[in-house]
Symmetry: C2
Subunit: 628 residues, 2 copies
């Protein structure tokens, strides 16, 4: 398919937008009229700029509030259209988007509206232009593609067709069954947007919260399927109004834009029953491989922080079992968990450390077919990475993660070739990584989501909003199909929350916490504490309320209280018991947890308790540091 | 009236909240249960803390999802209530808020619900407690105060009353006529919140967007009037869930909280027809004086920037007509406009300059009765300011403005005593200040609004959202009754817009622009340009569209084009013509405008053109500065 995007979707001046659109390989662009109005040059200048950037101007938009308006203004409206057709000729485009009238004085007489559209089509014909009529979800009289299509059929003019838009159709839960009736040649343009589901006025929703397919919750592939099945092969064009995209630098947004269209094509292809011919035109990368586990997490450290982290890892029951054969890199293991500390100079980890301080610079995932996953990621436009490999050391496929670190795909033993290994002694207290949470900038959440949804094929769980003592944080979990890999992403709109404070230390997105799974949490936290590990104290009031709320037995409540464990239940027999460390290096922390009876969440109800406890610990720590 | 506030309204840990509440003179506090749960101490510790802060714990809240729940859980629910009554005894409070059940399995049988409430009241009686039943606007079965009141009457128990909440009633546009039927002694508590009108799910609206009376658009005084008229003299308690308040430092929020209650009392008193006895209990400051004009704007400068501003003011037609008798302060005049440059060392202006650079550090307003306005402001908790006054110089009443500058109230000539004056020569090009716009931090908008609405008695115009090339900005205008003083406040949620960039230069809120009114804009802009003033060039595309949009004559369009004037019309014969300077000192700018035919807005449709033009000018300026 050809890929196009409306200039209104992006941040910047018109020339900045066009450069960003061209940079990631879009074939076409919709020129949003206001971008042109504010541009300090002629339409012909824009035409030339687009030619130089190898971009085709596929549409000019929008022409508003035309059809069914007051009769007294009709001549002026036609005159206005003539001016726009002249401007379009100068721009070198032949398609105009006419959106349905939203004015209070719009006629509800379909015959009159059809007549207006006919006049417009005749005017367009004189100029050699095509008019596409689009129903806005909040159009005064015409608000559904079905109504717009009826009118286009009534007019039956070669210079008038319909413009379909996934948002306007899906946002009102419209009946999709008539999409298949629209012949592809009558579709003047096809606009695509996704959005999170929100209970609010559809106009406000549309103007501020649209996003790219795969970032929202609308079933855009269900909308697209009948159109593609019918043989449509014109452009797929993104038209997204989003406050955060308006504020974000252009090229990162256009990279996501392109990826989202590829993802939409892949999803649509998988829905199409038959024609190989149709499917062949859609993007079809290698399928996402099954994700089996977190293989390792790699921390960028320096010699000082390596020493401190080493100490904490030992308290948490880890043992140093591997020394890298050629680099200043060590491996810590426990159960199936592998943690790597990388203090190698002249490495990506070192650069990462210099930019962000001690942090997770790489994560590796165990997949069924690492090579296929790597090729899939590259086809999705991921930047790939080839690190230095010593003699006889393994090469591992890696791509850049959304925060500039690395993500490896692994499908076989990777340690014995690179490390001098020793055996873990005794019994592990914790067995695997339950989840790995990241602190992410609010405006980057959609980008991270798309990375994991499109490339990794991960599922997106519902967003949660949680109170920090100094503001709200929001959490969204991306997870592998069977839940073995879970990645909570945490954002905060304000600067005083714990999430924001640690992100400020990182100067960017970074590890927020790693949760280690135990199968006997009471024994585990007791053992870790006796190893010297620090776990947060939980206020007594919490337990009084917990018992009253869930009707827990005195004995069980006393046990939780004694071990300072947090508790949650899903009301269906599932239970979650967990404990947290204070902030480590002022930025991330460890969790120890046990899932019982199929509990599938993260104890979100306890997050505020943890946040206050960490805040208190942090302040005491700072005070005592200040006193020293 | 007694003033109270719920801890959930504020940012911070529970002790931080209590200190902030006490600091501004609240008598009481509602303890929000979660704040207690996360507190690292006992309920008795909180009781002691409140006693030390001279705060009474007036309510414990909330007790959720009790009435009409599954029969199998009733015993556990009563047990849960017993625990909470015990906790309340430890806290030293006797009132519990029970909010209506929101669970899907809630019974719709009012007799059964009344029976549950009766049991709860009996339990409360055993502990000497009062239960207040509150209808949540999104309650599953009980969602209106009228329904809740019916149930309370049915139960008819001395330990059960109703809790009224302005948000839950006004948000659903509920019938207020039965408020007068509720005897004051059955009102266990009275909660107050305002909110901007929003078309969204009421639960989301309530949880994130409530604000203090005077900051929103609900008619809280209409809600309160019948309750007060009926003789209620218990506490007025603010319960506000607001994302920005959660993130803002406590004392500034509590100052606004207190001011909002006083404002509500004043508004309510003015609605009450009769009883002097009732009104006497309500806050009644001197009435707001009539605001007649902007008397002067004072810029904090240093000698360098004074030189540059002097040059620009001369280009704009101002003349230096006053030299201060004792200070390094100069007066520029034109028409009725007075601009002061203050470079005096050891002054508030100097401190302001050191903190914020060149900026407006004071504004003076001509009012009918300066002394009354000053006393009113002080009664509303404004911080007042007494500057250094030289011998025989005038003392002028001043209060602190929301950005830490000064606001003077003036009702007589103030220049001749302090300045050596000379006469303005020739004819002025511009005659008065049309409006003065400020850039304000997004989280401070509500605080600025309350300052001008409550103390000044200004009207609040509807918010506008406008696109900057790098993100959205939002604008809200506060204006005096007759529109002679208009103060647009501009905010931006993201850091890349022009508003945010100039606020970053200010390190805080500051002047964004001053608009000077002309009665012959074509002559004025020609004269200013020939004086050497720089006004922004407007793209040609703008005029092509303008003509098509409004059907303007070729001649008039050519005239606008020639003078690079922006144009707007209100469609009722009102017209607005205006032009802008580039950014001055990288932070503020001047506008020249003419209103015709009763036009009452600000040409908002042209804001994006101005923003792009300023951005282009700014970049060119930076480039050429870099090349020098």
């Amino acid at each position: 398919m050809k890929h196009c995007i409306a200039t209104v979707s992006l941040s910047g001046t018109l020339p900045e937008k066009l450069r960003a659109i061209s940079a990631v390989g879009f074939e076409g662009v919709e020129i949003f009229e206001n971008d042109l109005l504010y541009f300090d040059g002629s339409p012909a200048d824009i035409r030339k700029m687009c030619e130089d950037l190898n971009l085709k101007i596929m549409l000019f938009q929008p022409f508003r509030d035309f059809e069914g308006g007051p009769r007294s203004k009709l001549a002026q409206q036609i005159n206005r259209a003539e001016r726009k057709f002249e401007l379009m000729a100068e721009l070198g485009t032949d398609r105009l988007l006419v959106c349905s009238n939203v004015q209070a004085d719009t006629s509800t007489d379909d015959a009159l509206i059809a007549d207006d559209l006919h006049r417009l089509a005749e005017t367009a014909a004189k100029h050699g232009m095509q008019v596409g009529y689009e129903a806005l979800a909040w159009g005064r009289h015409v608000s559904s593609y079905r109504h717009a299509w009826d009118l286009v059929q009534t007019v039956n003019h070669p210079n008038l067709g319909i413009i379909l838009d996934s948002f306007h159709t899906l946002s009102i839960n419209d009946d999709l069954s008539r999409l298949k009736d629209i012949p592809p040649e009558k579709i003047v343009f096809l606009q695509i947007a996704d959005a999170p589901l929100m209970k609010m006025d559809v106009l406000e929703w549309s103007r501020h919260y649209r996003n790219f397919p795969g970032q929202g919750e609308l079933d855009v592939a269900a909308f697209l399927e009948p159109i593609i099945a019918n043989g449509y092969n014109g452009p797929l064009s993104l038209e997204v109004f989003n406050d955060k995209f308006r504020a974000a630098p252009g090229v990162s947004t256009t990279s996501d834009a392109m990826r989202s269209l590829l993802f939409l094509e892949e999803q649509t292809a998988s829905r199409l029953k038959n024609p190989a011919g149709v499917q062949a035109a859609l993007f079809s990368p290698p399928a996402a491989s099954a994700f089996q586990d977190t293989e390792f997490l790699e921390f960028a450290v320096n010699d000082d922080s390596a020493q401190r982290i080493d100490n904490i890892l030992r308290q948490f029951g880890f043992q140093k079992t591997g020394l890298h054969k050629s680099k200043n890199v060590t491996l810590y293991q426990q159960g199936s968990i592998n943690l790597i500390l990388n203090a190698e100079p002249d490495s990506l980890a070192h650069a990462f450390f210099n930019a962000h301080g001690t942090s997770v610079c790489a994560a590796a995932y165990k997949v069924a077919d690492a090579d296929a996953m790597y090729r899939r990621a590259v086809e999705y436009g991921s930047i790939f990475y080839e690190g230095k490999v010593g003699p006889n050391e393994r090469h591992i496929h890696a791509i850049r993660s959304p925060n500039g670190g690395l993500q490896y795909f692994v499908d076989s033993d990777i340690y014995s070739a690179d490390f001098h290994m020793s055996k873990f002694q005794g019994r592990p207290h914790i067995c695997r990584i339950d989840h790995t949470a990241y602190g992410v900038a609010s405006e980057a959440m959609d980008s991270w989501t798309l990375h994991f949804a499109a490339i990794f094929g991960f599922q997106i769980e519902d967003d949660l909003t949680l109170p920090d003592p100094y503001g709200l944080m929001k959490s969204r979990v991306l997870r592998s199909a069977d839940g073995r890999i879970r990645l909570p992403l945490n954002i905060s709109e304000n600067q005083r929350t714990i999430v924001s404070r640690s992100m400020a230390s990182y100067k960017g997105a970074g590890l927020q916490h790693v949760a280690f799974a135990s199968t006997d949490i009471f024994a585990t936290v007791a053992a870790l504490r006796s190893n010297g590990a620090t776990l947060l104290d939980i206020p007594q009031n919490y337990y009084d309320d917990l018992q009253a709320r869930f009707g827990l037995s005195d004995e069980f409540t006393a046990q939780l209280r004694e071990h300072h464990l947090l508790y949650d239940t899903d009301g269906k027999g599932g239970e979650f018991l967990h404990a947290y460390s204070p902030l480590i290096e002022d930025r991330f922390f460890f969790e120890v947890c046990e899932r019982r009876g199929g509990y599938d969440q993260y104890g979100a109800a306890n997050t505020p308790v943890r946040l206050v406890a960490q805040d208190l610990y942090w302040k005491k720590h700072q005070e005592s540091a200040a006193m020293r």
